[in-house]
């Protein structure tokens, strides 16, 4: 009897992880992805807000985030928080809010200034011991504002504060993060890794861009990749590695925390890559009355899912969506770009939802397929679904 007790005790001490019902997840904090030297330039407003400290000298945003994470209760996980996160005390899995994109877009339409602010981030899951990314769930918030005067720096900073700790939960990245960690699967390994590996923009799309130039195109490519990743991850509950174009050996991701810690995490190699091609946009009038006119905003994409090492393709289809927007006859200037983006993101949302139980009519219409080809289209959707199952 004594022998068995001792054996049981030895077993529990040797494998402590099975002696507790809940797994431990270390909360690591708020961080910025990218080179340390570029952080201030890449995230001018978020970085400034993250640097602000409370009366105890603790970064304000960090404190607010800790307060939210403390409230998260899960049956399967315990979030370990010691003020700024005692994630270094073991080799358990750790999580962080990793901000990877901040954007300010100002546009003048008919004497009004339209302002769009975006923050994109990752619920990043990593292995501290191995300094390796384990999984990631993209999240994003956006705020829009229209005013008669050109927006000042103070106004923009004020709106960014709303994006970080405003009252509206839908546009508050800290709340979106804490809501996401309440539900997503957090584990030490996700088996297979999915990632958006490329974004191509075709010539037919370019005339509709609000700005010319490579800077806009580069930034919009990033937005497309991150938005698609966000919809796919959220609607399918699948972990996705952070977007990066192509893949080099020894892929690394630098991350700086609000407390000054710098990590250079290894990103696992991609098992399945998604390539997005923006084929173009189209706008046309679809009806007119005495008081308003309806416009159709078409967005055209191509989505390809493949095994990047061997070029094996599982899904490769053109997809499209048309969104209708009614405009009062009296309105002389229309914000076409916003309507095209809405059409595009609605397509991402619907597409990522339809992968599970694909509607035959929707698939035929969205892919522009002939009736005879629908079976093959559905087969490709099924292959997409099977790949997602492997990445959960």
């Amino acid at each position: 009897m004594k022998f068995f007790s001792a054996l049981l005790l030895a077993f529990l001490l040797t494998f402590p992880e099975i002696s507790f019902a809940k797994d431990k997840v270390y909360y690591a904090g708020l961080s910025f992805i990218g080179n340390h030297a570029d952080n201030q330039k890449s995230y001018p407003y978020s970085y400034r807000l993250a640097e602000a400290k409370n009366e105890k000298g603790i970064p304000l945003l960090e404190q607010l985030l800790v307060d939210r994470v403390k409230k998260v209760q899960r049956n399967d996980l315990d979030f370990i928080i010691n003020d700024l996160g005692n994630y270094q005390s073991g080799d358990s899995v750790s999580i962080a809010l990793a901000i990877d994109w901040e954007n300010v877009a100002t546009e003048q339409i008919g004497g009004l200034y339209k302002l769009v602010l975006d923050i994109h981030a990752q619920v990043l899951i990593f292995d501290y011991g191995k300094q390796k990314v384990v999984g990631s769930y993209p999240i994003a918030v956006q705020i829009r504002d229209v005013s008669q005067n050109q927006p000042t720096d103070e106004k923009i900073e004020g709106l960014f504060k709303t994006l970080f700790y405003g009252n509206d939960k839908n546009v508050n990245i800290l709340d979106v993060f804490s809501a996401r960690i309440q539900t997503v699967s957090i584990k030490k390994s996700y088996g297979q890794y999915l990632r958006v590996t490329g974004v191509n923009i075709e010539d037919k799309a370019r005339p509709f861009f609000p700005n010319d130039g490579l800077d806009f195109e580069r930034s919009f490519s990033g937005l497309l990749a991150q938005s698609f990743g966000k919809f796919l991850s959220t609607n399918q509950g699948v972990s996705m590695l952070p977007y990066s174009k192509g893949e080099a050996l020894g892929n690394k991701m630098a991350m700086r925390f609000a407390n000054g810690d710098i990590f250079n995490l290894e990103i696992p190699s991609t098992d399945f890559g998604i390539n997005l091609t923006l084929r173009g946009f189209k706008k046309g009038s679809v009806g007119k009355t005495n008081s308003k006119e309806a416009f159709a905003y078409g967005s055209y994409m191509r989505i390809k899912l493949e095994q990047p090492d061997f070029g094996k393709v599982y899904f490769d289809k053109p997809i499209r969506n048309v969104a209708v927007k009614e405009v009062p006859i009296t309105q002389t200037e229309v914000d076409d770009w916003a309507a095209f983006q809405e059409s595009l993101f609605a397509l991402f949302d619907k597409f990522s939802k339809e992968i599970n139980d694909t509607d035959k009519k929707w698939a035929q219409k969205t892919t522009g397929s002939k009736k005879n080809d629908v079976k093959l289209v559905l087969k490709e959707f099924d292959q997409f679904k099977k790949i997602l199952d492997k990445c959960r």
Partner: protein
Amino acid sequence: MKFLKNFIIVSVVSLAIQAVASTNAMSFESIKGMGEYTYEGKFKKKNYSTYQKKAKEKAINSAWTRYIARLPQARQITYQKLDSEFRMDLSPYIGNVEILDETHDKDLKSVQIIARVTIFNEAVDTKLNMASAVNRAGDDASYFSFIFLARQTTSIKSFDDKVVSIEAKSASADLNAQSIQTSEDNEVAKSSETVASTEANLTTKVTTGGSTERKADRISYDVSSPQDIDAAMGDILSTAGYEVVSYDDIVSECGGVEPDDIKFEFSQADDMSRQTRRSAINGAKDCDVTYFSVGTIDIGLKDTDPVSGNQRVYVSVRTQVWDITRRLPKKVASVGPIQYAGLGPDQIVAQRNALILAAREASKSLVDQMNAKGLY
């Protein structure tokens, strides 16, 4: 009390188990491979596991081929001699095989598998090292001695360009009924006489040239022989199977130029003088040393790593190995110059990390080159 005693004993035992488990952890690499097996005849369900197994084997072999292609060239040469031996049984070098994708195409009669294969680097290294000539030689392995010096620039004396300018001038006159050309040094004299109605045209040709002599900067170095470098190099060479002997011991036992004299020469120039090199080699030869290596690691300036914000120091390493058993030393391996960067919270740590990294990588490359040539 008894329970407490048992608890302590059991705790110690369990900690020991964990310690053993962690020391067994090996460095590994995950490589993907794809394998396809095409069967003949009609598909039979009962045979599917066999098709699957064969496709999986091919996927493992494909991953192995991709892994070998990533090895340094010198290591690949050593590997080629052992390829069939390795492939006969890959199981000691392979861990987990995870099937990423499996497709059965009944029309093409093929089963295709894409797998992620874990390969144990250290097991492969050990096998390659064990098969090397030096390891097979066992007790007959050669003595290997080296002098590796770290150099940091203390002063740079630059010389202005020496410029020599030469200018040659010549003039020619073309005289005819209407014109006369005259030349007197560089001045053009023009005469015009109303009565004779004559004109003078003068052409002057100036040729310039010369030479610019540039003199290389005279650089002085602070030379040291850090223990970290000796330890890092000794570790790699000993593991590879060489009998490493200290140059200090050679000087004590068999003579040869003093290490300080070598350091002094390297503080003034990039190489040893002929006499110093001869003296060092003769001393080593008298002590039955087969391979003698001299190398330098030049420490560059520090900067800040843009990714991590840490201090970063670059070093540049170059080294050569000579077989000194014959009358004329023969160069058998050579590395560099190759740059390596070390990171650290301050300059001292960054520099130390860079030196250790450079010494380890340079000695690994030397060993690979010597193994590829079958030297021992």
